[in-house]
């Protein structure tokens, strides 16, 4: 059984007959750890490229979905159906002047875009893209994900503070307040899932959802945890900072929120992080509640294709969630910041606790 992407690469290389001779050379020199590092770097490189391509695709998809809802075409000129638009945007943003406001805190101002981007990438480490397609199956995977996503508000606060702009600061403060109040229901809803699996490992969580009840209904946690799913979904959208909860920006009130003063590549970094976040959070929703890469037909797939098919299943589900988020963005207005906090503290957290209580009771009573 191949456990993670590292082993998968080794397996593929072995199949190709490359691994053994190369390993022998490195062993001869007494530095086989170098080979390990090279393979890990390759693996991370693949992930990085994948995330960047996904982000580029997502910006295009967002425009197309918005255009669809709003009876427009969206980008059409660059490439077939505007597919190259993200590339052109990237080129444009690189060509822009990199402005640091005179009164800004230069160091923090420059650092913040990178700090926001790194957690957005790190979240992908324990995310299972398919059977054995995982960078590392951490034993505390879920905890790691929640902890890492809690880093990004710090970066947003840094960006807002360093800009020395009232709108930026207000946007940043809002983002932090929002993040604190929505991480709690998010974690509580996730804990209810963990109560079923008894493990924080993301692979265990997906494996627990493999199979069916009565041969028809897939064993996804959405059916065991409908309330948990809804809470997690709402909290995730708040966490992503998208309409109806896009307080870090709220462009009609705060111009552009915390990145009002940013331009050029630094602005692009925030943009990239935002869409990387959209993808990772949707992936986490799929992993926790929609069965991850698991699908009842998967056992009938030939073993050689399992990785590929499971990757496809995961991507289809994830894009379905992403589509939902984009669709939501076009249909509803933004709530007010105090209303948002009210919903978070007075409705979501009590409901999440109740959900936890009921789940615990039912598990103890042996219903599940």
């Amino acid at each position: 059984m191949i456990a993670n992407a590292y082993e998968l690469i080794v397996y593929i290389l072995t199949l190709l007959g490359v691994y053994e001779p190369v390993l022998n050379i490195f062993q001869l020199l007494g530095i086989e750890y170098v080979l390990k590092i090279i393979i890990v770097l390759v693996e991370i490189g693949i992930l990085f490229v994948f995330v960047l391509l996904t982000v580029m695709f997502l910006t295009w998809m967002e425009r197309k979905v918005v255009a669809m809802v709003q009876a427009r075409y969206g980008p059409m000129v660059t490439g077939p159906r505007g597919l190259l638009q993200p590339v052109m945007d990237g080129i444009k943003l690189i060509g822009k002047e990199d402005i640091v406001p005179a009164k800004a805190d230069r160091w923090v101002f420059t650092l913040a875009p990178f700090i926001v981007f790194i957690p957005a990438l790190l979240v992908f480490i324990p995310l299972p893209f398919g059977q054995s397609l995982i960078i590392s199956d951490l034993r505390v995977g879920l905890l790691y994900i929640i902890a890492i996503s809690a880093v990004s508000p710090i970066a947003i606060l840094l960006a807002g503070w360093a800009s020395n702009n009232k709108y930026s600061l207000m946007g940043a403060m809002r983002a932090v307040a929002q993040d604190i109040s929505y991480t709690i229901p998010l974690a509580l809803a996730a804990i209810a899932v963990v109560m079923f699996t008894g493990s924080l490992s993301t692979v265990d969580i997906v494996n627990a959802q493999n199979g069916t009840w009565f041969g028809v209904i897939p064993r996804w946690f959405i059916f065991l945890q409908p309330l948990g799913f809804i809470l997690f979904l709402i909290a995730s959208i708040a966490e992503m900072g998208r309409i109806p909860f896009d307080f870090q920006e709220s462009e009609s009130e705060l111009v552009a929120g915390f990145f009002t003063e940013y331009s050029g590549m630094k602005f692009a970094m925030f943009f990239l992080a935002e869409y990387a976040h959209l993808f990772s959070v949707s992936g986490i929703i799929v992993m926790l509640f929609l069965g991850g890469w698991a699908l009842p037909i998967l056992p009938f797939v030939p073993a050689a294709l399992v990785q590929l098919v499971s990757l496809g299943v995961f991507l289809v589900k994830t894009y379905a969630v992403i589509f939902f988020a984009m669709w939501l963005r076009d249909t509803v207005p933004r709530v007010r910041i105090d209303q948002l906090l009210n919903i978070g503290w007075k409705i979501m957290i009590p409901l999440a606790l109740l959900n936890l209580l009921v789940t615990g009771f039912l598990i103890t009573a042996g219903v599940f």
């Binding site: 918005v66 809802v69 709003q70 009876a71 427009r72 009232k166 207000m170 309409i243 109806p244 896009d246 709220s250 462009e251 009609s252 009130e253 705060l254 111009v255 076009d330 249909t331 509803v332 207005p333 933004r334 709530v335 007010r336 910041i337 105090d338 209303q339």
Partner: protein
């Protein structure tokens, strides 16, 4: 806890001040303690220009006041001049004028509701609104060649007769619009977040609204059943069947609903006008009365003299523009140019109520309340 007051300067360049308006806000955290609108960034001296131009030359300037709905601006100045000079207007011309004004009311409300929703973060409505607005603008284009600044209504009538194919296209628009308004209502009216943002926000009581001189949908949203089309009928409105829409709550939601209802009423009015449209002349002359000939369009447009001198006197003429009571006070000293033109614009008077509405609310509420006031800065600053 002791906190510092924050002074925020919102505008004149801000995404949701709908032009170059500036708010000076004294904030306690997110709560507005004082709001002062600062005007004048779009001041072009239109009233003074009125004294420099002949009566006909001034009409295009009125287009630039409330550029979202320019036909009523045209009309009210022309109406003032007609009252001043006692010019008789052919019935068919009045019908055409009402068609343009009611279409313009729909266009105005579409833009208003669309930008309100966009300020709240839902960008879809403005795109939908502009899709229907485009159809209306094409009608305008067909009618007079212009899409936003028309210069179409002239003293004594209108510039040109209705072109061929206009009425069928208008009927199509009316039929389409009816369905579209249902769509809007489905998208917006029962949206829980929208209700949360609009109900009990920016409340202004009927008495206060009257005291501030508010008019139009903003006043009717406070439960005052005041509409000049009914209260001081002009043109062919006495013959038409329509109801004055009003809501008692006085909050942002009420003002929004009034606009939606008014669009429906406008459709109703337009249908009646199209059905009962009389044949006949479309222009008259101050000396010889209604045009004796049908003639080519250019002949019609030159039938009214380019330079004419109304008798000395003064007149205040007002109508129910989409945004409220629009009045022109014109003084003539018997020369070819007005002695004085004073414009009473609805946007300006409605805007004055904003500081009253938003104290104690938050910035997002200011945006929501301001969106429902429906202000065009060209109309405020003149």
């Amino acid at each position: 806890m002791e906190t510092d007051e924050l002074l925020i300067n919102m505008g004149p360049v801000h995404p949701s001040t709908h032009g170059v308006l500036r708010f000076k806000l004294r904030m306690d955290g997110e709560i507005i303690k004082e709001c002062t609108p600062v005007l004048g960034y779009l001041h072009r001296g239109t009233e003074k220009l009125g004294e420099m131009k002949t009566y006909l030359q001034f009409i295009p300037y009125t287009d630039r006041l409330d550029y979202v709905s320019a036909f009523p601006n045209n009309y009210v100045f022309v109406k003032a001049v007609e009252e001043l000079a006692g010019i008789e207007v052919p019935l068919r011309a009045e019908y055409i004028r009402v068609i343009t004004m009611e279409l313009n009311r729909i266009v105005n409300h579409l833009v208003s509701i669309g930008s309100l929703l966009m300020d709240l973060g839902a960008a879809t409505m403005i795109m939908w609104g502009f899709r229907e607005r485009e159809n209306a603008l094409q009608l305008f284009e067909k009618l007079c060649g212009a899409r936003m600044t028309f210069n179409y209504i002239k003293p004594g009538g209108v510039r040109e007769d209705i072109p061929e194919g206009f009425i069928p296209q208008l009927n199509e628009f009316l039929k389409d619009m009816e369905k579209r308004i249902e769509d809007y209502e489905q998208l917006i009216n029962s949206n829980e977040i929208f209700l949360m943002r609009m109900k009990n926000i920016g409340v202004i009581s009927a008495q206060e609204a009257v005291n501030y001189g508010m008019t139009g949908p903003t006043l009717r949203g406070s439960g005052v059943d005041y509409d000049l089309r009914r209260y001081e009928p002009y043109s062919i409105y006495p013959d038409l069947d329509f109801k004055v829409c009003s809501r008692p709550e006085g909050d942002s939601y009420a003002r929004y609903i009034v606009r939606i209802d008014e669009m429906k009423e406008s459709l109703h009015i337009l249908r009646q006008v199209v059905d009962t449209m009389p044949e006949g002349k479309i222009v008259s002359n101050p000396k010889y009365g209604i045009a004796p000939m049908t003639g080519t369009p250019s002949a019609v447009s030159t039938y009214f003299p380019r330079i004419f001198t109304p008798p000395a006197g003064e007149v205040y003429s007002r109508i129910e523009a989409p945004k409220g009571e629009l009045g022109f006070y014109v003084v003539s000293d018997g020369t070819t140019k007005p002695y004085r033109v004073k414009i009473r614009s609805p946007s300006f008077c409605n805007l004055t109520a904003i500081p009253k509405m938003v104290v104690g609310l938050k910035i997002p509420d200011l945006i929501a309340a301001f969106g429902t006031i429906d202000v065009v800065l060209g109309d405020v600053d003149r």
